[in-house]
């Protein structure tokens, strides 16, 4: 039953390409379309679904129902929003940079969709099969900083510029821990190719062993998250990913209570919708990459391949929503301090721990390395984290608050 769906899809793809055998030029076009079109549609749909998921989830967390008017369980709500967005008038501030004001959402959407292309959806199912997929992912990821800046700058509004600058600063400072925590995984699995990373998270020997139980667990136990540096790396990666996608605790730039809507103030109508879509899709992309790097990509016990990938991706997205429901927003300086003074050193330390784990595994075999790794590795990271947090502790008022009546 493994990867059944993936193979079926690949066959379908080959069949359609086969249709145009006698028109080579068209065939190339079809081949390209095949790689990109389904992906865009799927993820547009995913965007719609995720907006619904988010609003229902947040509602439930806050003990309320969430949209249930439109469609059965409010399922058509995203459609309604979409139409509303389309109908809304698209205001452009008069003295703004018309060109860049229009270009910003596009610039944001393009890297989002490209990034999605690099996700290893299933066994062999990759839109842009590149040798160094992860690397390209991060390269493209750094593009949307420019888009945010463009948005902030072109709307000729002090608040949006300020919001833009803040967002750019946040994205830049969180890009480094993001990449560094990924480096640990890449170092361990030995290649930048997404498929190989996923493969490295499956215990090949168990899979080939034949007995069902071993096969069942073989898919799971190999995941990097079960390793000490993997778990720590996942936490750093996920936190940096939240910041990179401007999600929940780090959504300072377009936080409503802060600078109106940050760099999105001057956008309305469809451009605003595109911004949101780009943001959600880059969130999905990062969730996808997180699953490939840490949660074993498409490998899963029974229905290995695409289904598992989707489940994991959506569960990570659900966690994002969950975090959005609970955590308060971070102040700007805390935000920056957290990236540079907490995440970065720990990510670097994590790489060292991963290195030691790798050699420990060579030396004493995977089981001993696993146990020892968890005890020592995680201990080191834990103490480093405590030490760093004590170092960065802002001078809070530690004594009991003393109130005085004014004489």
């Amino acid at each position: 039953m493994n990867n059944f769906i993936d193979y079926k899809l690949i066959e379908l793809g080959q069949w359609t390409v086969g249709l145009f055998n006698d028109y080579p030029v068209v065939q190339i076009l079809v081949h390209l379309l095949l790689a990109t079109l389904p992906l865009t549609l799927v993820f547009m749909g995913a965007f719609g679904f995720s907006t619904w998921l988010e609003r229902k989830g947040l509602a439930r967390i806050q003990n309320r129902l969430g949209p249930n008017r439109v469609g059965i369980f409010g399922l058509l709500q995203p459609l309604a929003d979409g139409i509303k967005m389309l109908l809304k008038e698209d205001i452009v501030p008069d003295r703004s940079d018309k060109l860049f004001h229009f270009l910003a959402p596009v610039m944001l959407m393009v890297p989002a969709f490209i990034a999605v292309g690099f996700l290893p959806l299933g066994d062999g199912l990759m839109a842009l099969p590149m040798d160094s997929a992860i690397l390209f992912f991060f390269a493209v990821g750094s593009l949307n900083t420019i888009a945010v800046f463009m948005a902030g700058w072109s709307s000729r509004n002090k608040y949006s510029l300020l919001g833009g600058m803040r967002a750019v600063a946040q994205m830049i400072s969180y890009e480094i821990p993001l990449v560094l925590s990924a480096v640990a995984v890449i170092m361990f699995s030995g290649s930048l190719n997404a498929q190989e990373i996923v493969a490295s998270q499956q215990i090949q020997s168990w899979l080939a062993s034949g007995n069902l139980v071993k096969e069942f667990f073989g898919q799971i136990l190999g995941w990097h998250i079960f390793k000490p540096w993997g778990f720590a790396g996942f936490i750093f990666f996920f936190v940096a990913a939240l910041a990179e996608a401007n999600r929940s605790p780090f959504d300072l730039p377009e936080a409503d209570s802060e600078i109106i809507a940050g760099h999105l103030t001057e956008y309305s109508g469809f451009k605003y919708a595109i911004f949101f879509m780009a943001e959600y899709i880059s969130a999905f992309a990062i969730a996808g990459i997180a699953t490939t790097l840490f949660l074993g990509g498409w490998s899963g016990p029974v229905i290995a391949g695409l289904p598992w990938f989707i489940i994991k991706m959506f569960s990570l997205f659900a966690v994002m929503i969950w975090i959005r429901g609970t955590l308060p927003r971070l102040r700007v300086d805390q935000l920056m301090g957290y990236a540079w003074k907490f995440l970065l050193p720990l990510a670097i330390l994590n790489i060292f721990v991963a290195g030691f784990y790798y050699f420990a595994e060579q030396q004493f075999g995977s089981l001993a390395a696993f146990i020892g790794g968890w005890v020592i590795g995680f201990g080191i990271l834990q103490t480093a984290a405590k030490g760093l947090s004590r170092l960065n502790k802002s001078p809070t008022l530690d004594g009991k608050r003393v109130y005085q009546l004014v004489e």
Binding site: G57, I61, N63, L65, T326, K386
Partner: protein, 234 residues
């Protein structure tokens, strides 16, 4: 905060609990889908006032005697009363027109406190919106009149208190009347005894006439309070 960030996890646990329980626990999902379900309004809510009437017939059982106290007391002057007149236009104790402009009324409940006849009370009805902004929001007498049972229905405690108060008033009036009769009687007897004595000495005859006059006056007085026990207030 350490790696596992205990604080954040606790927070997440709380939201998770909310999320899950909202599916099966009642108090976790208190939303009332308004247009379909109506949530009972708290009995102490007050909105625009209404007039109470006893018994079945509205006009007859109306407690309001158009004394216009509430009209004068209302701060935004949103009450407008015209006294009713019977067939040969002699004013009777009942309002012919009793209008409240609900857009002006600020539900300050001063009219309730001023009304001596417990006839005006605050209603908890809030669905007063309608299309016509001016005439629509002016509520006339017939719309204001609501039965005492309705009153009991929306404000049970308050309604019960007002009824008790009225009953007590009536009872008090009874007792006072009785006491007065008692006193009168006693006084008459005492007078008679005295008179008898005096009369015995003086000419019994001429004093009889004066004694009988006195008995008539006391009866007249006794009759007066009888005819309006209900409208008298403390």
């Amino acid at each position: 905060m350490s790696l596992i960030a205990k604080g954040i996890l606790q927070g997440m646990a709380v939201t998770a609990k909310n999320f899950i329980q909202s599916y099966y626990k009642k108090e976790r999902l208190p939303t009332v889908e308004y247009p379909e379900e109506k949530s009972t309004v708290n009995q102490f809510t007050r909105n625009i006032p209404f007039l109470v009437y006893d018994g079945e017939d509205e006009i007859e059982g109306m407690r309001c005697t158009a004394c216009k106290l509430c009209e004068k007391a209302c701060p935004p002057q949103c009450i407008y009363i015209i006294k009713d007149t019977d067939e040969n236009d002699k004013p009777i104790k009942r309002p012919k027109v009793f209008d409240i402009d609900s857009s002006v009324c600020m539900s300050c409940q001063l009219c309730v406190e001023v009304c001596p006849f417990e006839s005006i009370r605050m209603d908890s009805e809030f669905e007063l919106s309608n299309e016509n902004r001016f005439e629509g929001l002016l509520i006339n007498r017939d719309e204001l009149l609501k039965s005492n049972e309705y009153y009991h229905e929306i404000h049970p405690i308050e309604a019960q208190e007002t009824d008790d108060r009225i009953a007590a008033k009536i009872a008090e009036a009874e007792t006072k009347k009785k006491a007065r009769e008692e006193k009168a009687r006693l006084a008459a007897e005492a007078k008679q005894a005295a008179a008898a004595m005096k009369a015995a000495e003086e000419a019994a005859a001429e004093t009889e006439t004066s004694a009988t006059e006195q008995a008539q006056q006391s009866e007249a007085k006794a009759e007066a309070p009888e005819d309006n026990p209900e409208t008298k207030n403390t």
